[in-house]
Amino acid sequence: MLTRRIIPCLDIKDGRTVKGINFVQLRDAGDPVELAAAYANQGADELVFLDISATAEKRKTLNNLVKKIAARINIPFTVGGGIRSINDVAPLLEAGADKVSVNTSVVEKPELINELAKEFGSQFVVLAIDARKMDNQWIVHTHGGQIPTEKKLFSWAKEAHNRGAGEILFTSMDHDGTKNGFAIDPLQKLNQLLPIPVIASGGAGHPVHFAEAFLSGRADAALAASVFHFGEIKIPELKLFLKSNQIPVRL
């Protein structure tokens, strides 16, 4: 049976992990490779690396980092941040990334999704959507959530699927950082609407929230950062909890 995936997300700046990270037994918690290896050993199903510093001159650092991660890690991983063209993506694939996530650049130029899917396959293209509820509408935001756009969550997700995106990573900005749980209603709707996998993101604070995302939200995967980084939720315990709630997971 296909299991539900648990995905830690690592924010990268200048080749180092950022946000407070409270991992014991790590020689260097700022080293994304060490941290990724620790998560893989704990039973993470996939990893996401978001380069928040990504600028043209720093892409080389990122490509080198991806190579180091791929050399060490034996589970799939996604790389995102600052991807603006096919030329940015090819080196990431060659370095060993399994998927790329795109956000701002494809809102500005939706055809890029078609180009990426045609060149690398849909399974390689994850569309990340940051959205917030405004006047009863889920409004898509770009540039790390700073800039509201004209796009609405559901129609944009549908369009992205039609253009060839293979997976949607949906972050509710309203829930992100609250630790009060994932945004269940829009997740449910996305999962009804789309025939491709949806990753829930934003709001994880307790194992119950993951169970809700899978059972009520019908998410295929759930992503979190700080609760894992600070050791508030440990992946093996989370998975045992999910299993005890009849959610199929990889133990």
């Binding site: 034996n74 589970i75 060993g96 396959g121 293979g166």
Partner: protein, 196 residues
């Protein structure tokens, strides 16, 4: 031992190479026919689209090289599908080692496509160790090979399909052993220690 990884216009060659590095196995990534023919074992990886990769293999005359190999060959993901006779992905004639036709998953409200994530191996027999029954491995694919007489492990997603196959010296897996943590490493080791 002398391992060649077939180099062509498909992704994940590097991931397979890294997996062999982690096992301490040396290899050559090559599209030179003689280097592929000379290897003790050949790995034929692949992530991508069937018709463009088949065209590339034909243009480079690697199609005949691959089907005529006598040493153990391991097709991974798209590599496994290309070893079949035909793929519904852009109506592509493939290499024809396995006389099977590759089909597309039909998404339903319960089943998303691509089939993405960790799923279990069932009905394991043949070259994939029966010890690995019910173990989880990582899949990401929209097309599948139906269960057939060459199937040595199945996985269920909308239907039971071929997770692994074997015919003579040709071994094939639909999942990604190079991304399937310890279970994947075990499967790579089984292939690397196999004889025809």
């Amino acid at each position: 031992m002398n391992i060649s990884i077939v180099k062509y216009n498909a992704g994940n060659t590097q991931s397979v190479a890294f997996a062999l590095d982690r096992l301490g196995i040396r290899y050559l990534i090559t599209d030179v026919p003689e280097e592929i023919q000379r290897a003790d074992k050949v790995i034929f990886p692949g992530v991508g689209e069937a018709s463009s990769t088949m065209k590339y293999l034909r243009d480079k005359k690697l199609d005949n090289v691959i089907v005529n190999l006598k040493q153990p060959v391991l097709g991974i993901c798209l590599g496994m599908q290309l070893l079949c006779r035909h793929s519904d992905e852009n109506n592509t004639t493939c290499l024809g080692v396995f006389d099977e036709s590759v089909q597309k998953f039909t998404p339903t409200s319960q089943y998303k496509v691509p089939h993405t994530g960790w799923n279990s191996l069932t009905s394991v027999n043949g070259w994939v160790d029966p010890f690995l029954q019910n173990q989880l491995v990582y899949f990401v694919h929209s097309y599948y090979v139906p269960v057939n007489r060459f199937t040595t492990a199945t996985t269920e997603y909308t239907v039971p399909f071929s997770a692994a196959m074997k015919k003579n010296n040709f071994y094939a897996v639909q999942f990604h052993p190079e991304k399937s943590a310890g279970t994947g490493e075990k499967i790579l080791k089984i292939f690397l220690s196999s004889s025809v």
